[in-house]
C-alpha cells in the first residue's frame, strides 16, 4: 500500500484548537473594550458634570479664587524743547529684593558676603536683612544699573533684581524750575511736582495697562486666560511735551544770569524772555536753582519757581502800567508838562523822588525817562482810583496769568474797598510800591504794550504729541488792554527811556524800549534802608518787537540801581537773543551811528 503524504494545511487543520479555545481572545478583547468604554464613559460623565451639571458652581468657585492681576506701567511722556532736544526722559535703575525663606539656611552668610562688596554695605548688615524665614525683604532701592547687573550675574537663589523706572533730566539744572520733577516709582505711584511735570502730570502719565488671569498649579500666570472673564489692556504711553523754550537760549541766559549775580554781588535773580505776539515763553532763568535729578537732596523751598511762585514789589517798572492807563484814558499826552516840586502829597502821605531832587517843569516823557515818583503819583491822581485800578486789573495784576506751570500765585494788589487800602496807595502803587507782582505777570503785561495792546496768555508747552497725533497749543488772546495808538505812543516813550535814561540797556543797531526799576525790600514795619531789588523790563526791536525781557537782581551789592545792574544785563541778554533769533540790526540805527 502506497503511503500518501498529507498536505501541511490539512495537518494544521487537523491540529486546530477546539471551538472553546477560539472564543477566549474575543472575550478578552470584549472585556478590554468594555473597560475602555467604561473609562471613556466615566470621562464623558465627568465632562458632563463639569460642563453641564456643576458648571455654575465651578465658575463661582473659580471666580472666588485669587486670580492673577498685574498692572503694566505706561511709559511717562518725554519733554523736549522747541527743537526736539530732550529735557526729560525715562530710564531705569534696580531694586534688590530677597525671599529669605528661599535662601538655604547655611548659605545666608555666604550670600551676604557675596552681595556686600557689590552693594557697598557691610556683610553683617546684609545678613540681618536676609536671615530668617520671611517671604520678602527689601535689600536695596534705586541701585545703579551696573550694580543691578552685577547682582543678576551672581544668580543667587532667593535674591531678585527688579528694574524700576526713574525720570532723568540730562541737562541737569537747566530750566529746572520750568520742568519740575517726578517723585516716587511705579509701585508707590509716581507723580510730577512743580513746573510742567506737575501741571501736565496726567497727560505725561498716560494710562496703565492691566494683565489678569488665572494661576496655574505652579503659581505661574496662565498664558491665555479666559478673555471673557479676564484679559489684557495694553498701556497707553504718556504724551510728549514740546516746550516753547529754546535749549540753547535758555543755557546762554542762565549763564548770563549767573555772571550778572556774581558781577553785581546779588543774592538771587531771574530773567524771563517771552514772545509778545504769542505769549510763548522762550526762556526763564532762575538762580539759585536745583538739579531735578537730585530733588531728594534739595530743600523744599528751592522747588518754588520765582518766576511764577514768588512775588515782589516791581518798583519803577510798574510806571509803564500807570502811563499806559493814563495815555489810554486820554488824561495825559507825552508832551504834557508837569511841574515837579520834588514831592507830592497823596492821601496825606508825602511822596518824594528816588533821588530826593526836584526837576521843575518836565514833559510826561521826561517823567518816565527820569523815573519821577512824584510824576507817576500825579498821573495816577489824574486818572483817579477807579480808572487806575481798572487798568491794573485789565493788565492782569492780582490774578494768575494762567500759564501752564504748577505753582502760580496771583500776586497782591490792594484796591479801593479792600480793608487795607488807603488813599495814599493810589500814589505809591503808581510807581510800583505796595503792590506785589510775579515776574511772569509783569512780562505778560509789558508784552501787551509790545503787542499793540493785546494781552496774550503766557504758555510753555507748544505741542502735545502721542505717536502720530500732534495737538498744538492754542494761543489765547486774553483781551485788548489798551489801544494800538496808546501802545505805539508808550513804546516811543520807553525808547526815550533807553536812549536818554537807561543808556546801558542799549545795543548798537537796535531800537530798544524799556524801563528800569529799583524797589526797596519790604521788611516788618517798613522797608529795608539798604537793600533793593534791581530790575529792567524791555523789548526789542521797538518797531517790531520779537521778545520781551525782564531782568531782576535781588539785593545787588555793587550798586543798588536797576539802571547800572539790570539794564546792562538786559543789553547782554538782548545781544544773545538778536544772535540766536537771527534778528538783524535796523540799518537806520546803524546809519545814526548809535553807541
Amino acid at each position: 500500500m502506497k503511503r500518501i503524504d498529507i498536505p501541511a494545511i490539512e495537518a494544521v487543520e487537523t491540529i486546530s484548537p477546539p471551538e472553546q479555545a477560539d472564543v477566549r481572545p474575543l472575550r478578552r478583547m470584549m472585556f478590554f473594550l468594555a473597560a475602555l468604554i467604561g473609562f471613556a464613559l466615566l470621562i464623558a460623565a465627568q465632562f458632563v458634570r463639569w460642563q453641564v451639571i456643576e458648571r455654575d458652581v465651578l465658575i463661582e468657585r473659580l471666580a472666588a479664587r485669587d486670580h492673577y492681576y498685574e498692572e503694566i506701567p505706561s511709559p511717562r511722556g518725554l519733554i523736549v524743547d522747541r527743537h526736539q532736544n530732550l529735557l526729560a526722559l525715562n530710564n531705569y535703575d534696580f531694586s534688590i529684593e530677597a525671599a529669605p525663606n528661599m535662601i538655604p539656611d547655611r548659605k545666608t552668610r555666604e550670600v551676604a558676603a557675596q552681595l556686600a562688596p557689590i552693594l557697598g554695605v557691610s556683610a553683617d548688615e546684609l545678613f540681618n536683612i536676609l536671615d530668617g524665614d520671611g517671604l520678602y525683604a527689601q535689600v536695596a532701592r534705586h541701585v545703579p544699573r551696573e550694580v543691578g547687573k552685577a547682582v543678576i550675574a551672581l544668580n543667587i537663589k532667593g535674591i531678585f533684581v527688579r528694574p524700576v523706572a526713574v525720570r532723568i533730566y540730562p541737562e541737569g539744572e537747566l530750566a529746572a524750575h520750568l520742568l519740575g520733577f517726578v517723585a516716587g516709582d511705579a509701585e508707590e505711584g509716581s507723580r510730577g511736582y512743580y513746573g510742567v511735570e506737575g501741571f501736565y502730570d496726567q497727560a505725561l502719565k498716560g494710562k496703565k495697562g492691566v494683565r489678569e488671569g488665572s494661576w496655574n498649579p505652579w503659581t505661574r500666570p496662565v498664558s491665555f486666560a479666559d478673555r471673557r472673564a479676564y484679559g489684557w489692556t495694553l498701556p497707553q504711553e504718556g504724551q510728549t511735551l514740546v516746550l516753547t523754550i529754546d535749549r540753547t537760549i535758555q543755557f546762554l541766559i542762565e549763564q548770563e544770569l549767573r555772571a550778572a549775580i556774581e558781577r553785581y554781588g546779588a543774592e538771587s535773580g531771574c530773567i524771563v524772555v517771552m514772545d509778545p505776539k504769542t505769549g510763548a515763553l522762550i526762556a526763564a532763568a532762575t538762580y539759585p536753582t536745583y538739579d531735578p535729578n537730585r530733588f531728594a537732596e534739595t530743600e523744599e523751598l528751592r522747588f518754588v519757581d520765582p518766576v511764577i511762585g514768588e512775588q515782589y514789589e516791581p518798583g519803577s517798572t510798574f510806571k509803564v502800567i500807570t502811563f499806559a492807563a493814563a495815555l489810554d484814558a486820554g488824561v495825559i499826552k507825552p508832551d504834557d508838562v508837569y511841574n515837579d516840586l520834588g514831592y507830592i502829597e497823596v492821601g496825606g502821605r508825602i511822596i518824594k523822588n528816588w533821588d530826593e531832587r526836584h526837576y521843575g517843569l518836565v514833559s510826561m516823557t521826561d517823567v518816565l525817562v527820569k523815573s519821577l515818583n512824584t510824576g507817576a503819583a500825579h498821573v495816577s491822581m489824574l486818572l483817579g482810583a477807579n480808572r487806575f485800578y481798572y487798568y491794573v486789573n485789565r493788565f492782569g495784576f492780582g490774578h494768575k496769568t494762567g500759564i501752564d506751570l504748577e505753582g502760580e500765585i496771583a500776586g497782591q494788589v490792594r484796591r479801593p474797598g479792600d480793608a487795607e487800602w488807603h488813599e495814599s496807595d493810589l500814589g505809591t502803587h503808581a510807581f510800583g510800591q505796595g503792590v506785589a507782582v510775579t515776574p511772569i505777570q509783569l512780562v505778560t503785561a509789558v508784552s501787551a504794550i509790545a503787542n499793540r495792546g493785546f494781552l496774550m496768555q503766557p504758555y510753555v508747552v507748544g505741542q502735545l504729541m502721542r505717536a502720530d497725533q500732534v495737538a498744538s497749543a492754542r494761543q489765547v488772546t486774553v483781551r485788548q488792554v489798551i489801544g494800538e495808538q496808546t501802545a505805539r505812543t508808550l513804546t516811543e516813550m520807553m525808547v526815550q527811556v533807553v536812549e536818554r535814561g537807561a543808556t546801558q540797556a542799549q545795543v548798537p543797531g537796535y531800537r530798544i524800549a524799556g524801563k528800569t526799576g529799583t524797589a526797596q525790600v519790604p521788611i516788618v514795619g517798613g522797608y529795608d534802608p539798604s537793600q533793593t531789588v534791581a530790575s529792567f523790563v524791555g523789548f526789542a526791536p521797538a518797531d517790531d518787537p520779537q521778545f520781551v525781557v525782564l531782568v531782576r537782581l535781588d539785593k545787588p551789592t555793587q550798586s543798588p540801581w536797576g539802571s547800572s545792574t539790570a539794564a546792562p544785563t538786559f543789553a547782554n541778554v538782548a545781544r544773545i537773543l538778536f544772535t540766536q533769533l537771527a534778528i538783524p540790526p535796523d540799518p537806520s540805527q546803524l546809519a545814526r551811528g548809535q553807541p
Binding site: P75, L86, N90, P170, S223, I576, T579
Partner: protein, 120 residues
C-alpha cells in the same frame, strides 16, 4: 461592534484635537511670554541708549567739548549780520533769444546781485 469602534475612534479623535489644541496654546503662550520678555529687555536697552545719547548731547557738555577742541565763544558785540540778496529767479528765455543772450542775462543778474550786497 463597528459602532463601538466608531465611538471609540470619535473619542480618540476628540481627545487628540483637545490635546493638540491645549499643547498648541501652551506653546504659543510660552512664545508670547518669551517675546514679551524680549520686548521689555529691548525697551530697557532703548531707554539706556536714549539716556546716554541725551547725556552726550547735553548743551553743557557740547559747550565744554567745543572749548576743549579749541573753539572760542565769539563776543556778542562782535557779531555782524551780512545782508544776503537772494538771486532773482531766472525768467524764461524770450522766444527767439539766443543761448548767448540767456547766458549774458544770467551774468548781469548775478553781477547786479553782487553789487547790491553790502560789504561786511
Amino acid at each position: 461592534m463597528i459602532g463601538v469602534l466608531c465611538i471609540l475612534a470619535a473619542f480618540a479623535l476628540l481627545g487628540w484635537i483637545y490635546l493638540s489644541q491645549a499643547s498648541q496654546v501652551a506653546i504659543t503662550g510660552r512664545r508670547v511670554q518669551n517675546l514679551e520678555a524680549q520686548k521689555y529687555q529691548l525697551q530697557e536697552q532703548n531707554l539706556e541708549l536714549m539716556a546716554q545719547i541725551a547725556e552726550y548731547e547735553s548743551v553743557a557738555r557740547l559747550a565744554e567739548r567745543a572749548e576743549a577742541l579749541g573753539f572760542v565763544r565769539l563776543p556778542l558785540d562782535q557779531v555782524e549780520f551780512l545782508a544776503v540778496v537772494e538771486p532773482q529767479e531766472q525768467t524764461t528765455t524770450l522766444a527767439g533769444a539766443s543761448p548767448t543772450q540767456g547766458w549774458w542775462a544770467q551774468v548781469t543778474a548775478q553781477f547786479t546781485a553782487w553789487i547790491q550786497t553790502s560789504s561786511p
